[in-house]
């Protein structure tokens, strides 16, 4: 498959000359929290990035300094908020499908920023993500999850929305608010706490965008990125680190080791990513040896080298500093979601909305092709035992199928004590399997 295939959408030609193709990137904030996050993103150093905000609440929209605004659900909420009802948020988005499709049309890479748990964020963002990916864009979402303290209802709403988002986005990066409490000092203000979430989002978005646009040692083109995220529905690993001092690589790797985002309860089980993107941003002194060192350490931890895409970017303003960003995708449970989703869409397309039939089925065929290709490339990896002890991993990568047959328990043994295969352990509205200190917001210094 040639790389340009990924850029082509069935209903849209590439704009401009191929040599000089400019990626159209758009960051869309959905709902109150999403709007705020976009407002606060300082994107001066990022060119070719469009910002947009979508909300049901006209007041929040008016307060936003972002130029491109879209009010959805005028007929549903009359310009008011959804009152925290995800259903109303979804209806609002459904009622303004045309406006949303105009907003995402012709965009190659869509970032959706939203706070899940409320109405607009939880209800509308899955619809928007769906439409964006159907129009051929690569969709990456950064979503915050509500504090456990906010109660069961918001939690449930967020969980449901997250499930929907995972199916319609190519990557969903979750930032649980509970984690914010871990990161802040005891005396810090609410603004400080949300500034951390904003910073995470900013660094994640920036890492991806700069990898595509900036010039560096190793550039990643959009096709590679699309291919890495071709499967949907899986979980996404996301980790950030900054290294400073004389041993920048060492300190960055150490920080990556303790990055809280890599240690979310749900990501505990995503030991190996099926595709991994590593972006390194360093000063002019960044050497190939340093890149190699990072690559060695990161691939060993998260993936195999075959499935890793690396980008290295030079930023003249950085001296003796190294920014690391790791994004990994799994398609372990993506396959199930994908098939269910396409079956559902076929039926829906034929009966309810004939206007969408053609583009949808084409889009799905195209995606299935991609999935087939990536599946062939990574078909082995989901079956490998997720094991991080040295000897077993060695034999696994060397590839001795007999050795694997002999240890049918190794996978279970490795994850024993963790609760991924059990039902959630609800008591009084909270999941007891999630660490108590996280739910209570007790700060742990590591």
């Amino acid at each position: 498959m040639s790389e340009n295939d990924h850029l082509e959408s069935p209903n849209r030609p590439i704009r401009g000359a191929v040599e000089d193709a400019v990626l159209n990137i758009k960051i869309i904030g959905v709902g109150g929290a999403g709007n705020n996050a976009v407002d606060r993103l300082k994107m001066d150093d990022l060119s070719h990035v469009g910002l947009a905000v979508i909300n049901t609440d006209s007041k929040t929209l008016n307060a936003s300094p972002i130029a491109e605004k879209l009010m959805i659900g005028r007929t549903v909420t009359r310009g008011l908020s959804t009152g925290g009802e995800a259903d109303i948020g979804r209806q609002a988005a459904e009622s303004d499908r045309e406006a949303i499709s105009r907003l995402v049309e012709g965009v190659d890479l869509v970032f959706i920023l939203a706070g899940l748990g409320g109405g607009s964020g939880s209800g509308a963002s899955p619809v928007i993500a769906d439409m964006a990916s159907d129009s051929g864009a690569l969709v990456i979402s950064f979503v915050t999850l509500p504090f456990t303290r906010e109660g069961q209802r918001r939690h449930k709403q967020a969980e449901d929305a997250l499930g929907l988002l995972r199916r319609s986005c190519h990557a969903v990066i979750t930032l649980p608010n509970d984690l914010l409490l871990q990161e802040i000092e005891e005396k810090s203000t609410l603004l400080d706490a949300f500034a951390i979430a904003d910073d995470w989002i900013y660094r994640g978005v920036r890492a991806i965008v700069s990898m595509l646009n900036d010039h560096g040692l190793i550039n990643v083109d959009f096709a590679t990125l699309t291919k890495a995220f071709s499967s949907r529905g899986g979980k996404t690993l996301f980790g950030l680190a900054v290294g400073t001092g004389p041993d920048v690589v060492g300190s960055a790797l150490r920080e990556l080791e303790v990055c809280p985002l890599l240690h979310l309860p749900e990501n505990k089980y995503v030991r190996k990513a099926d595709s991994l993107i590593v972006n390194i941003t360093g000063g002019p002194d960044l050497s190939m040896a340093m890149v190699n060192e990072v690559l060695d350490a990161v691939t060993e931890k998260f993936s195999s080298r075959e499935n890793t895409v690396i980008g290295a970017v030079i930023d003249g303003s950085l001296h003796n500093r190294l920014h690391l960003c790791v994004i990994g995708a799994t398609d372990v449970d993506g396959k199930r979601y994908r098939s269910a989703r396409y079956r559902g869409y076929r039926e829906q397309g034929h009966t309810a909305q004939p206007a969408f039939v053609e583009s949808r089925s084409q889009a799905s065929d195209r995606r299935r092709d991609e999935a087939g290709v990536s599946g062939a490339g990574t078909g082995e990896s989901p079956a490998l035992p997720a094991d991080d002890t040295e000897p077993v991993r060695e034999t696994a990568t060397v590839g001795e199928p007999v050795a694997q047959e002999e240890f049918p328990f190794s996978r279970i043994d490795d994850s024993r004590g963790f609760f991924e295969e059990t039902e959630s352990n609800m008591y009084d509205g909270v999941d007891l399997d999630i660490p108590t200190f996280l739910r209570r917001g007790i700060r742990i210094h590591v």
Binding site: I412, L432, P435, F437
Partner: protein, 406 residues
């Protein structure tokens, strides 16, 4: 009637499968003649999630135990745990039939049958009917037989379970070619051996903290009053550490055992411990304070849930015997100190009875299997004594009288 029987006590736990082989000699003697153990697979939070894996390790433990004992196991007593277990109180009422008003066996049986007759949803099955007491004309009596009255009430605590989950466990043992004589809830098994008769009469709460779940049983007036399961166990402590300290599970388990503590100790606030502590490459210092705070939060929550579940039954007046902690999870340093302020009663660690000679077997994680063997001994006795009293319905016919009376 003097006969020797070789029975096995099997606990398919979340972290390990333990098989204890006992020889019942006559009616009063129990000799422990063998032990087998294997690392558990396919079990999470006390429930089987992978039947094949669980069967593999259970059979390995059974083989080891039979080899160790040098005898073939004739029957198995099986421990059940997991959050699918639930219980409720129900009472049976009958009018005394005799003209002179004296209560006979038939009256007791009728009231008991009435108490046990409550139908369960289709996929649930009774595991135990625990007699919690009897009332004659509204007055509490220890034994209603031959007393005079008009109205007899028998109160019971019923424990029921998910039928398929219980059957899965039975199938694992059956797959080895052994019959399951009875299934006993873990907490009831360990409670029977850990608490003394005096404590059971006065009121005592036994909490068995396993790897995947914690079982508890509350005794008063010599009878089991309440039992239950909280789906939080030692694995949750490990998992919390692993997430909080950002280390893998085996390192977290190691740290928990090496330097874990369930209370936050102000003294060594600044102190740090090494992750491996053996000069290995990649070692990393971890503040003690972080470890303690994570473990303390989980321990406090566990006992908070226990307190909420038991409600008013949990106070110093009702529980002169206090709380006894047992099970592998109770080995966590200072767990009792963490429990005391939350529960508001005395908390101590359980000890296996002094007749257990092997020091290794006195560790708290063996309390359940000992309880199972003890159960086997008592069941044998009640077989001989009066089979009539235990002739209840349900899948598990033999509900040992000894557990009801103490």
């Amino acid at each position: 009637m003097s006969q020797k029987r070789i029975i096995g006590a099997v606990e398919i736990g979340t972290s390990k499968v333990i098989v204890l082989v006992g020889e019942l000699d006559g009616r009063r003697h129990l000799n422990i003649i063998g032990k087998g153990q294997s690392t558990s697979h396919g079990v999470r939070k006390g429930e089987i999630v992978d039947l094949k894996a669980a069967a593999g390790c259970t059979h390995a433990a059974l083989i080891a135990a039979e080899k160790n004992a040098g005898a073939n196991i004739e029957g198995v007593y099986l421990a059940a745990s997991g959050s699918h277990l639930a219980g409720f109180a129900n009472r049976g009422v009958t009018n005394v039939s005799a003209s002179d008003g004296s209560i006979r066996n038939a009256d007791v049986a009728r009231a008991s049958a009435d108490a046990k007759s409550k139908a369960l949803p289709a996929d649930r099955v009774y595991v135990h009917h625990m007699r919690t007491g009897s009332l004659v004309d509204g007055r509490r009596v220890d034994n209603p037989l031959a007393m005079v009255g008009e109205r007899l009430e028998m109160t019971y605590w019923h424990v029921h379970a998910d039928e398929r989950k219980i059957q899965n466990m039975i199938r694992v043992v059956n797959g080895f070619g052994l019959d399951v004589e009875d299934v006993i809830v873990s907490s009831i098994a360990s409670g029977s051996i850990i608490a003394s008769q005096e404590e059971k009469a006065a009121g005592v709460l036994v909490v068995d903290i396993g790897s995947g779940a914690s079982d508890y049983v509350l005794y008063r007036n010599g009878c089991i009053q309440r039992s239950g399961v909280i789906a939080v166990g030692g694995d949750h402590f490990t998992n919390d550490l692993s997430i909080g300290l950002r280390i893998n599970a085996s390192n977290a388990e190691n740290i928990k055992h090496r330097c874990g503590k369930a209370i936050v100790d102000k003294r060594d606030k600044q102190e740090q411990v090494l992750m491996y502590g053996d000069l290995r490459i990649g070692d990393r210092p971890i503040p003690r304070n972080a470890i303690y705070r994570i473990l303390h939060a989980r321990a406090e929550e566990l006992f908070m849930i226990l307190k909420n579940k038991l409600g008013s039954a949990l106070n110093a007046q009702n529980l002169p015997g206090g709380v006894i902690l047992t099970g592998g999870g109770s080995a966590l340093h200072s767990l009792g100190e963490a429990a005391r302020p939350v529960l508001g009663v005395e908390v101590r660690l359980g000890e296996s009875p002094s007749w257990v000679r092997d020091i290794a077997l006195r560790r708290p994680e063996y309390a359940t299997v000992f309880g199972l063997l003890y159960y086997g001994l008592s069941a044998q006795q009640s077989d001989d004594d009066d089979a009539q009293d235990v002739a209840g319905g349900g899948l598990f016919q033999r509900v040992a009288k000894i557990f009801n009376v103490g």
